[in-house]
Every structure is written in C-alpha cells, then in structure tokens.
C-alpha cells in the first residue's frame, strides 16, 4: 500500500502539475497560433489599455452592472474562486509535504480556519448546484456535464475535509483526496475549467472592441 501512496504522492503529483501547467501553456500556444493563422485581424483592435481596463473592471467586485443585478451569485462566485486558490496553496498539510520535498515553505493558514474555508467552498458548490437546478434560465442550459464539473471541483475539498477530521476510512479518504485533486488539475486544461486562461482573452477582446472601436464601456 505504501508503494501506491508513494506513487500518487510522488510521481503522480509531478505528472498532474506538469499536465496542468504545460497543458495550459500548450492551450495558450494553440490559441495564439490559431489566431495568427485564421483571425490575425484581432490584433488590429486589441490594445493593452482597453484589455486591462476591462479585465480589471470585471475583477472589481460590484463594479459591473451584471454584478449589481446578481449580487448574491457574484459574491459567492468571487469567494469561491478566491478560496479555490487560497485554500490549497496555504494549507498546512500541503505546505508540510512541499517542505519535506523541496525544503521551501511559506505561511500556512491555521488548520481550523482552513477547515472553515473548506466548508465555505463546499457550500458555494452546493449553492451552484442548487441554482442550476432551480433557476430556469440556468437549468435550461444545464446538462449532466455541468454537474460533473461541479463534482470534480467538490471532490478534493470534500475528501480533504473528511480526511482531516478522520471521520472514517481515513487512509482511503486521503488516497481519494489526492487522486481527485490530481484529476481536477489534469482536467483543467482540457475542460471548460480552461476558462482560467481563456476568460482573460475573451474579456480582452471584448474590452478592446468596446473601448477601442466603440468608445464604450463593456461592464
């Protein structure tokens, strides 16, 4: 068993991160190549100024009109996305592992706090799922794939939470946690989670079209 744990907590972590990072880079390169080959005119309109203006406007909570009209959803979404990065990066257990492997470490969240934040992430995902089920215009767009995406993000958090509390099947839970975390990382470049890098691009283009050509705001 330890050999298997060694594998998923050693080489597989490398594999997962490499696929995650190289996958995103590869995706970015493909997009840029495709733009150069087929839609190079977008460069005539893209400007740094208007791209960044739009991206920052959309990152500012409650600046865009859309965020003012759906404050509950956006608040939860902002918090969810922030915690999605903060919790795993500043989690003590993760830092301990990294410290053992690379002799580097950084400030860690208090375990109790991390535990609460984990629950918040899970609740945010439950909210997304319920919203998908209840709000007609969202339900209309929803297929089982959308729930699948939510589950893929939820699993590392749920299993991590259960493992931390050592409620039951501790060993199996950690193994499930590590595997689900790796699956999530691997899937990011190949699923709609790639919005992580595509969103800034579409935003930049729309921001430039609106700002540069139409002299109007797009938020």
């Amino acid at each position: 068993m330890n050999a298997f744990i060694d594998f998923i907590m050693g080489p597989m972590v490398w594999v997962a991160f490499l696929i995650f990072i190289l996958g995103l880079i590869f995706k970015m390169v493909l997009i840029i190549k495709d733009i150069n080959a087929r839609e190079s005119y977008v460069y005539s309109y893209l400007t740094w100024k208007h791209s960044l203006r739009s991206i920052f406007a959309w990152m500012t909570p409650f600046l865009p009109q859309s965020t003012k009209q759906s404050p509950v959803f956006y608040s939860i979404s902002y918090i969810f996305h922030l915690l999605l990065f903060i919790v795993p990066i500043f989690l003590m257990s993760h830092i301990v592992l990294i410290n053992e492997a690379f002799q580097v470490s950084w400030v860690a969240l208090d375990d109790g706090l991390a535990d609460i934040l984990t629950v918040i992430v899970i609740l945010a995902l439950v909210f997304f799922a319920i919203r998908r089920h209840m709000v007609p215009e969202v339900k209309y767009l929803t297929s089982y794939k959308d729930y699948l995406l939510l589950i893929i993000v939820a699993l590392p958090f749920i299993t991590g939470f259960l493992a931390y509390h050592q409620f039951f099947f501790y060993k199996a839970m950690v193994i499930a946690h590590v595997i689900s975390g790796e699956i999530m990382l691997i899937l990011i470049p190949f699923s709609r989670f790639s919005h992580m890098i595509v969103a800034p691009l579409t935003r930049a283009y729309m921001g430039s079209e609106f700002g540069n050509v139409r002299h109007a705001k797009d938020w």
Binding site: I5, D6, N99, E100, Q103, L148, H165, Q166, F168
Partner: protein, 144 residues
C-alpha cells in the same frame, strides 16, 4: 406563453441530472452526520510534543518498544543518529539527548532540517522504503 418554444430536455438526461444532483446532496449529508462521530481511542501512547509552541496536530502515536520489536530494530543509531559538520558519524548514537537539541523549530545555518521535518522524514522515508507502516498525516496524528 408559447409552449412550442420550450424545448424539453429529453427524459434520459433529466433522470441523469436528478441522480447526480441527489447523489451530490446525499454525499454531503453523510459528511455532516459523520461530524458527530468523535470517540477518542483509548490508551494511545503519544510522542511528547511540548517543544512545539502551538502544535497544529496532536502528538504522533508511537509505541517505541513495540515498534522496534515488530520492526526488528536493535541498533539505536538507526534512528538516533549523530551528525557532525553535516556528516553522519558512524557507530555513535544519540538516544540520550532529545531530538530538539539539534533540530530546532525552524531550519538554521548549521542544521537545515527542522524538528517536524526531521520527524516526518525519519519515519516516512523508512516506511516508504519498507513498504510498511503509517505514512499519512492522520495515521500518526490520530485525532484526540
């Protein structure tokens, strides 16, 4: 309302959606129920972790003599090693002094291995190598 405009999602996907949705909720429910399950196992022998100012986890469970008997370790120096000038000193052991004498809480110039890392590596490296024994946080830091 124009009923023909509502394109009904076909039955099968609707079922699939329901099953996944309900499964998701059930899973969370179990998690919450499990919260209440907090029995402290009796008679665990733990390492003294009082050197740590603010321990994040309970002291690791470790029954020294039982461990060595099962693991068939007779030489103390296997674990209680001695280093001088960053080199292992053969045939010497350090079982009389606490680990914290050399390993401080934070890595230092002379000793880059902090106390917790020393413990973790000491146990886990061997357990991985032997393919036996606990290697996950909660296998040693059993909840109090």
């Amino acid at each position: 309302m124009k009923p023909w405009k509502r394109k009904s999602i076909n039955r099968e996907t609707k079922m699939k959606q329901k099953v996944i949705f309900i499964g998701f909720i059930l899973f969370l429910f179990t998690a919450v129920i499990a919260f209440s399950n907090t029995d402290e196992p009796e008679g665990l022998e733990r390492l003294d972790n009082s050197v740590f100012e603010n321990p994040h986890r309970p002291g690791a469970v470790f029954a020294h003599d039982d461990h060595n008997e099962i693991a068939q370790i007779e030489d103390c120096a296997v674990c209680h090693h001695v280093y001088e000038d960053k080199k292992l000193v053969e045939d010497e052991s350090s079982e009389d002094s606490p680990c914290s004498e050399c390993h401080s809480l934070k890595p230092t110039e002379e000793n880059s291995i902090s106390l917790s890392v020393a413990y973790h590596k000491q146990c886990k490296d061997c357990h991985f190598e032997e393919n036996k024994g606990p290697v996950l946080c909660g296998e040693c830091h059993i909840k109090e």
